[in-house]
């Protein structure tokens, strides 16, 4: 036998107790939706998992009203330490039900169980633990003494890290004293609804968190609802742009975490084997469906051939297949639509003259799959070097000098993430200083921690999530009596609108 054909090691689905239909979670209870329900499927098999409700405008209104009521009646009156208690309770329940959540996430999203088990769900718990600790320390959040919450937060999250993005949004919002209406992505609503069960278990007061499901129009109705004070969105730049447009002038505080085209810069003195691991983690983690993916490898020309040779060897050991198998490295693409986009851009890359290479993988018959792929001979003008592919596709460019590396890394409308690989600490610091990216990793990639702020420059959005900065996105300076204005907490956190600029002046 071949040892490397590891025998199947599937994670059991026995502890999953899924319902066939899911409604919205409004005011502490599950309620049927008024829109047309839709099916959520397992992208690895295309088999149906459950029916999910669609929220129409009346449902959105009910959710926002519930959140407003809970804000006015309960949550804004609780002490920070009491809010913290709920958050700690949620964090512990997430840990207790970690295995179940990991299996559900893998089923619904298509990502490998080893990622949901070792990355997604542990980070979800970590986020709640972290912000639970902040709930009674808001004076130190950097917004001044006695900061006030914003009110009702409308949160719209993407499908690539469904439960993790939920945690990134809900934990700081609740810690800061806001109530929430959250809409998960259409293709990945399942774990948010399991999370709603956890909220019931935790006895969170009704209406503090409401979860409504549906497609883009539900999200649109939610962010446009006049009863909302804060809008937080993670997703594509085009949707982010339209949200910014519709929110402008309404006084709603907005934070956007959008697309990216991260540069992973490898200098000739890099620890080469670890750099190769970092390249793999940068672009093949979560099938490359990561906004901060290191989708552009910018490698020093003198080591290009060696790095590509090592990278190809390493890619041959990646195991694509059943996401529930504990040895799977590369799972399924989340949807047929996303797969079509990855294929389209990859075919375009080939037509533009870049050299395409994919690892040998047996592609399963059903489901949405894309083999890990790299493009060499890519130039900065190619679409695959500029557009976000959001898939397991790496574009390789070269540089000769640090100045050229910096120029190429910054030559993108995005500015979310970057990586620098070098054994020389001074060079890492000097280069990091000149990169226009919100997150820069040195000799590592795609590492997340609740204490570290995350967010982008330019078309990658504005506002920060994580850390103290992420808390400030849900707070405003103490409101003096008579003034109801929303002041900007931080110029990075809030785009300066006419209203917030005048509010700042008033605050002085």
């Amino acid at each position: 036998m071949k040892f490397l054909d590891y025998a199947p090691a599937p994670e059991s689905q026995a502890l999953l107790n899924l319902k066939s239909d899911y409604g919205h979670f409004i005011n502490g209870d599950f309620t049927a939706g008024r829109g047309t329900p839709f099916q959520t499927i397992n992208p690895a098999t295309e088999q149906p998992i459950a029916m999910i409700a669609t929220a129409n405008e009346a449902d959105v209104d009910a959710a926002v009203s519930a959140a407003r009521h809970a804000y006015d009646g309960v949550w804004s009156r609780l002490s920070g330490s009491d809010r913290g208690k709920y958050l700690f309770r949620i964090a512990r329940l997430v840990q207790e039900r970690a295995r179940e959540l990991a299996v559900a996430e893998t089923l619904d999203n298509g990502k490998p169980i080893k990622e949901t088990r070792d990355v997604d769900i542990p980070l979800v718990a970590a986020w709640f633990f972290y912000y639970a600790g902040w709930a009674d320390k808001l004076d130190h959040a950097g917004v001044g003494p006695n900061p006030a919450s914003l009110g009702v937060a409308a949160q719209v999250i993407p499908w690539n890290f469904p439960l993790m993005m939920l945690a990134w949004k809900i934990a700081p919002a609740l810690a800061a004293g806001n109530t929430v209406v959250l809409k998960p992505a259409e293709t990945t609503s399942l774990t948010a609804l399991l999370f709603a069960e956890i909220l019931q278990q935790a006895d969170l007061p009704a209406g503090v968190v409401n979860i409504i499901t549906g497609d883009g129009s539900t999200g649109q109705a939610l962010v446009n609802h006049p009863g909302v004070n804060k809008v937080a969105f993670t997703g594509s730049t085009s949707v982010g742009r339209s949200i910014a447009r519709s929110v402008a002038g309404t006084g709603k505080v907005l934070s956007l975490e959008l697309g990216g085209k991260g540069a992973n810069i490898v200098f000739d003195d890099a620890p080469i084997d670890q750099a190769v691991e970092g390249i793999v983690r940068g672009i093949f983690f979560n099938q490359g469906q990561v906004c901060c993916a290191g989708s552009r490898l910018i490698v020093q020309e003198s080591i290009h051939d060696d790095v590509i040779d090592r990278l190809k060897r390493r890619m041959q050991t990646l195991r694509l297949g059943d996401p529930l198998d504990k040895n799977t490295d590369i799972g399924a693409i989340n949807s047929a639509e996303q797969l079509a986009r990855i294929r389209e851009l990859s075919d375009l890359g080939q037509r533009e003259g870049a050299e395409r290479w994919s690892a040998d993988c047996v592609i399963p018959e059903n489901g949405f799959w894309f083999a890990p792929t790299i493009f060499t001979n890519v130039s900065t003008s190619h679409r695959i070097a500029r557009d976000e592919i959001f898939g397991p596709v790496l574009s390789v460019l070269t540089f000769r000098t640090p100045a050229e590396a910096i120029a190429k890394a910054n030559n993108t409308p995005y500015g979310l993430s970057a990586g620098i690989w070098s054994d020389k600490g001074s060079r890492i610091l000097a280069v990091a200083d000149r990169l226009r990216a919100g997150v820069i990793w040195a000799n590592t990639f795609n590492q997340f921690d609740p204490s570290s702020p995350f967010g982008g420059y330019k078309e990658s959005g504005y506002g920060r999530e994580g850390g103290r900065h992420g808390l400030a996105a849900y707070l405003k300076p103490a409101v003096r009596s008579g003034s109801r204005s929303i002041a900007a907490a931080d110029p990075v956190t809030t785009p300066v609108t006419k209203k917030s600029a005048s509010a700042k002046k008033a605050a002085k």
């Binding site: 036998m1 040892f3 025998a7 199947p8 080893k114 620890p271 080469i272 084997d273 670890q274």
Partner: protein, 337 residues
């Protein structure tokens, strides 16, 4: 820097071509420091990731038998006696008396003065470098510290080879390595290799122990690995087992990466032997995975991979019995050696 007896041995011409001149401290430093460094955090993360592979059912069964066939069953005690060595050899030949299908270990590993006892005990089942039977490996060169005059180290090696040792596990001079006297370390390995020569001209297999616990950094381990391979070692081995930490998965991974790169460069396959501290089948399986995914599973043969261990064998046997019978037994159902 080269002391007189060393100069008489001929180092490998290819190694000299790679170094770009004679094996002087300066040339070797230039070469070894030109090798890309290791990021400790990244290396350890990769090792931990390989450690999460889930090896079940038929893969586990294959892994268990493979591990047994890769073990250098070891006793390296001041209290070793011919009787103890006979007992060790008996265990090596028949690891599980209840199951005649159980494979034999690769070799027994003893101090040089016990080689004769081991050879006698093996009798016709002494493999003597072949695949059938069990080999005899001897630690030498003033093991474990390596602190002796070169003449004594070489005599130690010759004695063991004359007594019938098929494999020599030498230690490098860590003091010389850490002091930057790379030329001395290199020349000693070349000399020891020559001392492995038998009367008929053939050579005992040479394993070079780096004692990674004393080298301390992964960069040092990587450089020492290159140095040992350049000087002609057939195997690079992590540890004596007398210094903590002994073998770890990240250290072994870093050595496997050197072996992989040497194979890319020259087409020659060098063996790797983690030794000390590997006590459970679960740990040993992580090493098999790391070997297979780093250098390829063709390395999983006794000529290219060994475990230096004493207590590992019984844990593997318990696992093996469990897979055969379906239930766990206990330490009274495997033999002590």
């Amino acid at each position: 820097m080269t002391s007189s007896p060393l100069a008489t041995y001929q180092p490998d011409q290819r190694a000299l071509a790679l170094i770009g001149g004679e094996a002087t401290d300066a040339n070797l430093r230039r070469y070894l420091h030109g090798i890309p460094g290791i990021d400790a955090v990244g290396l350890e993360a990769r090792a931990a990731d390989l450690g999460t592979r889930s090896i079940k059912t038929s893969s586990k069964r294959w892994a268990i038998d493979t591990i047994i066939g890769l073990i250098d069953l070891t006793t390296l005690e001041g209290a070793d006696t011919p009787g103890k060595v006979r007992s060790l050899v008996a265990k090596a030949l028949v690891p599980d008396p209840g199951d005649p299908g159980c494979p034999r270990v690769a070799a027994v590993c003893v101090y040089g003065d016990m080689v004769g006892a081991a050879v006698t005990a093996l009798g016709s089942l002494h493999a003597a470098g072949a695949t059938e039977g069990v080999n005899v490996a001897a630690v030498a060169t003033a093991f474990p510290s390596g602190r002796a005059a070169l003449a004594i180290k070489l005599a130690d090696v010759r004695d063991a080879v004359t007594a019938g040792a098929d494999e020599i596990d030498m230690v490098i001079d860590r003091g010389a390595f850490l002091a930057g006297r790379f030329g001395q370390v290199y020349d000693e390995i070349v000399a020891v290799k020559e001392a492995c020569r038998r009367a008929d001209g053939s050579l005992a297999h040479l394993k070079v122990i780096l004692e990674t616990g004393e080298l301390n950094t992964y960069d040092n381990v990587r450089r020492a690995s290159w140095l040992a391979i350049l000087a002609g070692g057939d195997f690079i081995k992590t540890s004596t087992g007398k210094v903590a930490p002994a073998a770890t998965l990240p250290v072994t991974l870093s050595m496997l990466e050197v072996v992989r790169d040497w194979h890319r460069l020259t087409g020659v396959r060098i063996g790797v032997k983690p030794a000390g501290g590997i006590r459970t089948s679960k740990d040993a399986i992580k090493y098999l995975v790391t070997v297979a995914e780093t250098v390829g599973e063709e390395w999983l043969t006794p000529h290219l991979f060994r475990f230096g261990a004493s207590s590992l064998l019984n844990d593997v046997l318990l696992q093996r019995q469990k897979m055969t019978t379906g239930h766990y037994s206990g330490p009274d159902y495997v033999t002590i050696d």
